[in-house]
């Protein structure tokens, strides 16, 4: 019998091997360490995107050099794909290739739990929506707003009101567009497209400044700002123009997200006439529709005496979906409904100075894998527990046998 293995067998052994698992786990550990160092300067959001976003096939990690301001550039595969390979490796090695029997049942279960946890991370990155909803007492909303992701929204307007659906160019369409490149966004169901140029991740719209060299629209121009360490403070912007079906292009205009500190959700939209219809075009942080409205009745904040340290935040809300249902949302007691989880995020600190209403802020998360990490922990715990008991039992039997053998 020949000892040489076919290429398929070699690939199988490699992909399901302990060696690959070890390399991948070390890689993930190193990446996590380097990302932790880098996020101090680059910010959490940008660092996570750089190291672990699915579009990052590779990472040029920056390792700070001791006794120097320099960095050593370390090329590595992207963390998302390392995890994907780890998931494949554990499935092949930890579930399929592993010797099966009662002795390995616990280990297999633990492997399954870890695979489940890694899969939860992948699903969350691809499908999770995360935003915030700020409400003053008496206000209601049926949407949350992403803190980070800019989108371009186009909606038809009739008799002063939006109609139909809102067409969205989001993260997938806008990712990777650069300051010196242009991109055409095709909207299949609209009678026009948009051409974007001069994209920057953080801008402010300012009156034209002579000598800046930036294009000016009606005396206004985009001024690029340094990226904020806190990603949610960045406000993207670009120049845009309408491209009609016959190829005719319109006058350029500015699309931008208002600065976070302005408190505005959006600038007033542009009006675009096409095919005898009127459309509103604007750039905003992503709108996350919620399948019901949430009305804030009472925002209740308690603080420890003589301190600004919150003791408890609680919001009394009405969930309006046909009928109105009273719900209380507290710290660590979120509301889960319709695929969305509402966490208590922030709150006004007591009565407002002007006598105005108090407000409450919720973190709104839609994640199909929301509970998977918790379930996977139960599975891993059960698997390791079974394995421990099996080993204890086996060891006990061996010890009992030894005196008989002697």
């Amino acid at each position: 019998m020949s000892k040489s293995k076919s290429p398929a067998q070699r690939i199988w052994r490699f992909l399901s091997g302990l060696g690959l698992a070890t390399v991948l786990l070390i890689l993930l550990g190193v990446q996590t360490w380097l990302a932790t160092l880098e996020m101090v300067e680059a910010g959490l959001l940008d660092t996570l995107q750089k190291y672990f976003h699915w579009t990052s096939w590779y990472v040029l990690a920056e390792l700070p050099l001791p006794f120097s301001d320099g960095h050593l550039i370390v090329p590595m595969p992207g963390g998302y794909w390392v995890c994907a390979l780890l998931l494949l490796n554990m499935t092949l090695g930890g579930l399929i290739r592993i010797r099966k029997g009662w002795k390995t049942a616990g280990v297999m279960l633990a492997h399954f739990g870890i695979i489940f946890m890694v899969a939860a991370g992948g699903v969350a990155q691809l499908f999770e929506k995360r935003g915030v909803m700020f409400l003053f007492e008496g206000e209601q909303a049926d949407y949350a707003v992403s803190l980070t992701d800019p989108t371009i929204e186009v909606v038809e307007v009739k008799d002063g009101a939006a109609v139909g659906e809102v067409h969205v160019a989001g993260e997938r369409e806008l990712h990777g567009i650069g300051r010196n490149s242009s991109r055409i966004i095709r909207f299949p169901d609209l009678p026009f497209d948009l051409e974007l140029s001069g994209w920057a991740k953080n801008v402010v719209v300012v009156p034209e400044q002579k000598g800046s060299g930036n294009p000016s629209i009606d005396g206004w121009t985009l001024r690029e700002l340094p990226l904020e360490t806190e990603g949610e403070l960045n406000a993207a912007g670009c120049y845009a123009r309408v491209v009609r079906e016959d190829g005719e292009t319109g006058m350029p205009f500015i699309l931008a997200v208002p600065p976070a500190r302005s408190g505005l959700e959006s600038f007033a939209p542009y009006s675009v006439e096409a095919d005898g219809r009127t459309f509103a075009v604007r750039m905003v942080k992503e709108t996350i529709p919620v399948p019901y409205a949430v009305k804030l009745d009472d925002a209740i904040a308690e603080y420890y005496p003589n301190s600004a340290r919150p003791k408890s935040f609680m919001s009394k809300i009405e969930r309006v979906e046909g009928e109105s249902v009273p719900v209380e949302i507290r710290m660590n007691e979120p509301m889960r409904r319709g695929g969305f989880t509402f966490f208590q995020r922030t709150m006004s600190s007591g009565p407002q100075p002007s006598g105005g209403p108090e407000f409450s802020g919720f973190e709104v998360v839609s994640n199909p894998a929301d509970k998977w990490p918790e379930w996977s922990l139960y599975v891993v715990t059960a698997g390791l527990g079974i394995h421990f008991l099996m080993m204890l039992f086996t060891s006990g039997r061996r010890m009992n046998r030894k005196p008989q053998a002697s």
Partner: protein
């Protein structure tokens, strides 16, 4: 390990895809409350004078061409900015401010009226407005009551009012604008008139 190197280099080889020049946006979402009150009658001056960042961080505040003789009783002086050269608040949501603007007197009057859904004026309508002189500027007194459609960093408000002056001198436009709930604005109208009369040229 040879295979390891090969596999781990696959991502590196796939990077050469380059930037996309055209993309198709097929995603849609349902309408939400965020899509109510879309104001399509906004020009860029109005659009971008909202949401400006804090003056200290980005924009320098230009010197005001006028100065106030006194802060009216009950008004609170606020920090000025590139778009509010003199800036005050009063009552629960009331505000009054002096700005330098672009365009002509009629353009600015009609922009204000549109914010309240009022019919724009023609030249004859403008000529019929009460005349006002302040700090060497000549202009008109503008009033509008009703539902404020938002703008200039303000949320829409029902039962609001506007009182103010749009004036011109040598092609420069000066506006003095008071906005707020109707009752509060009416109560402060006389103070606004005295404030306008008391404005003086800065130099």
């Amino acid at each position: 390990m040879k295979y390891g190197v090969t596999l781990l280099s696959i991502p590196l080889m796939l990077v050469s895809c380059g930037e996309r020049e055209e993309v198709v946006a097929e995603e849609t979402r349902p309408l939400t409350m965020r899509d109510a009150n879309l104001d399509l009658d906004t020009d860029n001056d109005e659009r971008f004078s909202q949401g400006r960042p804090a003056p200290a961080t980005t924009l320098e505040t230009p010197p005001s061409p006028v100065v106030a003789s006194a802060v009216p009783e009950g008004w609170t002086e606020l920090e000025s900015s590139a778009f509010r050269l003199l800036n005050y608040s009063f009552g629960s949501k009331g505000q009054a401010y002096v700005s330098a603007s672009r365009g002509g007197v009629l353009d600015n009057v009609n922009r204000w009226l549109r914010q309240f859904g009022a019919e724009p004026l023609d030249a004859a309508g403008l000529a019929a407005l009460e005349k006002v002189e302040t700090a060497g500027y000549r202009g008109v007194w503008v009033e509008a009551d009703g539902d404020f459609g938002g703008g200039m960093g303000q949320d829409p408000g029902k039962g609001w009012a506007l009182r103010g002056v749009v004036a011109e001198s040598g092609g420069n436009i000066l506006t003095v604008k008071m906005l707020g709930p109707l009752a509060e604005v009416v109560a402060e109208e006389e103070r606004l008139r005295r404030f306008v009369a008391g404005l003086k040229a800065a130099n």
